[in-house]
């Protein structure tokens, strides 16, 4: 088979940086393979992706050693724009990568640059619209479509120029499960039907691990190409089934629910472990209805949350999760019904604190410590306590860093620290797992548990089934603004088709985390 991408002893260091982002990478990727790049944040995944299309080093600058050949072209001699017809790149947040406004024009932009003749361009655009089935969107504005659609438009736009390799940086990190499945399916179709080579980085391994051919594992700038199973075992990370495999010492580690079920065998349904009932009621929601203009977003919701509870709000995009959170915190006026926190109408930010979907929205100080101090000052609290909050989230070492220099995950932790520092007993998080690496995710989980353990309440909206399964003491499922299920994770997630965690799918109702299953198998 002819190889389409080749790294020869590539070592790269960013300007004014001592450590090598890529350290002597040697690998070759054949045409028509679906390759997954995995590894903790800062291990070199995205540098690797950018080196594959010349953005590294041409766009970033830095010191570069070795040779990258893509489609037979040396990226040193060809800057990115001269590789556009061979390799296509889809960045993590397509919304901010769109150049033109209409979907149709956006698809044509790349070809316009390559000087493709208009007739052919037109035909190509139509093909792309069909291939990723986004024809209905052709006239819409790229800013006004859903996340999943946006990803597919971005892919179509990248593909239109007819490249041989498609490089994607965490394409599903911002999507709900359904959206993610559409995108992954589309990518698989490209590989199988079009013989495309697809290279993608992803944190949510459970979403892609099953469908890729090979994986490149990254650790401190070094890379290892191999079967997904090997790579994941060596990296000590991966989807819950893989974690189970490691706990149970299986080899190779399972990557799909099917493999896990085959290796683990059947287990009896697990009795829901009765945690001692919630403490006295903190949040009390009665007949709550909220709307955006005339469009109802939350319909007639009743909810009581007691001290020590951690509630996961789930449901597809537009189910009303965010609106519910904003109403609880007191920034969104309810149409009908009432919200009471410890018996009184919540004073925004004082009784309940909310960490918004884009944590960057609140970061403006020069250092992490200042960021937290600002909140304390604004709330008239003792600024000395800032250190404690940072400790609680395990980001004390970052205190002196500039928030904008941190990874997405670390920023989320900083933002959480900044809002939590206000000392509100009720802590609300809106989709805290967007683009979150496992390490940061663990820190966040621990912090939430601690907050609840000290008599607080944690409520978070999420698409991340596994996170809900791991940390929530209670899951509330929303659809069309109404509560359609409310109970402990085992019960609610257990009998859901879309939202069931891998352990439940493999071993039946009640089984939520690899730890539980491993314990039962041992």
């Amino acid at each position: 088979m002819n190889e389409v991408l080749r790294f020869e002893g590539v070592t790269f260091r960013y300007p004014e940086s001592e450590i090598a982002a890529l350290d002597d990478i040697c690998l070759a990727i054949d045409e028509g393979t679906f390759v997954l790049a995995v590894g903790p944040t800062g291990a070199g995944k995205s540098t690797f992706l950018r080196a594959a299309n010349g953005l590294v080093p041409h766009f970033t600058g830095g010191s570069f050693k070795g040779r990258v050949t893509v489609g037979g072209r040396d990226t040193m001699r060809y800057p990115p724009r001269k590789l556009a017809d061979v390799v296509a790149f889809v960045p993590q947040d397509p919304a901010s990568s769109f150049v033109l406004d209409r979907v149709e024009d956006e698809l044509a932009y790349g070809m316009e640059n390559l000087g493709v003749d208009p007739a052919h361009m037109r035909r190509r655009v139509e093909e792309m619209l069909d291939l990723l089935d986004i024809e209905p969107l052709r006239g819409r504005s790229v800013r006004a479509i859903s996340g999943g659609e946006r990803q597919r438009v971005a892919i179509a736009a990248a593909m239109a120029a007819g490249p041989r390799i498609l490089v994607l940086d965490e394409p599903t990190s911002q999507l709900d499960p359904q959206g993610a499945e559409h995108v992954v399916a589309a990518l698989q179709r490209l590989v199988h039907d079009q013989g495309m080579t697809v290279l993608l980085a992803e944190h949510r391994l459970e979403r892609v691990a099953g469908s890729v051919d090979l994986a490149v594992g990254f650790h401190e700038g070094r890379a290892q190409l191999g079967s997904t199973a090997d790579v994941i075992r060596n990296l000590a990370m991966g989807p819950p089934v893989a974690r189970l495999g490691r706990l149970a010492g299986w080899d190779p580690v399972p990557l799909t629910v099917r493999e896990a079920r085959r290796m683990g065998g059947a287990l009896p349904p697990r009795a829901h472990d009765r945690t001692e009932g919630p403490g006295d009621t903190m949040v009390e929601i009665r007949g709550l209805t909220a709307a955006h203009g005339d469009v109802p977003a939350v319909r007639d919701v009743d909810l009581q949350v007691g001290a020590g509870e951690i509630v996961a709000l789930m449901g597809r995009n537009g189910a009303g999760k965010t609106t519910l959170l904003r109403t609880i915190v007191g920034v969104h006026e309810p149409r009908r019904g009432s919200v009471r926190i410890m018996g009184r109408v919540p004073h925004p930010g004082v009784d309940a604190a909310l960490c918004p979907q884009e944590p960057d929205a609140i970061l403006f100080a020069d250092t992490v410590l200042d960021e937290v101090r600002t909140t304390l000052r604004a709330r008239g609290r003792d600024e000395a306590t800032a250190g404690l909050v940072l400790d609680a989230l395990g980001i004390a070492p970052l205190a002196a860093c500039h928030p904008r220099d941190l990874s997405a995950g670390q920023r989320l932790l900083v933002a959480t620290a900044a809002v939590a520092a206000g000392g509100a007993p009720v802590l609300l998080l809106d989709e805290p797992t967007r683009g979150l690496d496992p390490a940061s995710k663990d820190r966040l989980v621990r912090f939430l548990r601690g907050h609840a353990a000290h008599g607080g309440v944690g409520i978070f909206a999420t698409h991340d089934v596994e996170l809900a399964a791991a940390v929530a003491t209670r899951v509330v499922m929303l659809a069309g603004g109404e509560v359609i299920a409310d109970g402990d994770p085992g019960a609610v997630l257990g009998d859901s088709l879309v939202f069931a965690p891998q352990m439940t799918r493999a071993f039946g109702s009640g089984w939520l985390t690899p730890e539980q299953v491993a314990g039962a198998l041992a």
């Binding site: 020869e8 041409h58 050693k65 500039h402």
Partner: protein
Amino acid sequence: MSTVVVTASGGLGRSRERLRIGVLVGVNLLGLLAFVWPFVLPLAPGIDENHKSDGPLILVTLLICLGAVLFVELGRGGLGPKAVALLGVLGATMVALRLPGFVAGFSAMFIVVLLAGNAFGPGFGFLLGAVGTFASGLFIGGLGPWLPFQMVAVGWVGAGAGFLPKGSWGVRIGSLAAYGFVSGYLFGAVMNLWSWPFVAGGSALGWSAGADTLTNVRHYLAYYAATSFAWDTFRAVGNLVLVLVLGRPVLGALDRAARRMRLDVGGDMTGPVAKGAVDVDATEHVHESRGLPGREAG
């Protein structure tokens, strides 16, 4: 194995040809003429015919002059993706600020031009001023004969901010604040000039063709004082305060962004240029790194 050190493409200030500077200066003077002709023309007997004829013809001539400025300033090409992206994003903030930030003569969009011009250099400042004004004009449906004049005038405000001294924070903010204050009035004065001869023609505050430059200047100052001084004071003071409040943090953010994007901000009137230099660097390096034993590694 030899290592190749690559400079990032997409400088904002690297000048491609010195010659351009001459062209730019010339064409900007031409543009200046489009504004101040009422003062200059009476001195030149040759062109008496023009300014004695009817308004629209003069307006057309002026628009042609300004067209020339915009043509050269905006048509230089080779901005490269980084500069275009920055222009787009900062232009968007100008669009966003055009309406909410509007108080009498003051518009918050000036702060963007001032700070960005100061951070990224005169060439970028002019481009941002012109592009942002154009975009905001389109966005709020404000297209009209005044648009070219606004584009050039705002562009000049941005360019001017790029020439200010960049020493300590104190110097930088201080000079920028002062400049913001002054430019607040200058912008108004310049913007009034274009309509003055037509609207105030003949009146005591108006432009009289026969009169000498001094008289006209005196008339204009009187006219400006009577019509727009108060109005423009809002702009001047607004700029001053905003620079003092936002200058430090925002400039910090812009500088960091420049570093993160690996922009080289050398700032001169030739503005953003991306292509050329860099690829040359790269290929040169490739030459010296040719035949390095990379293959063995593979």
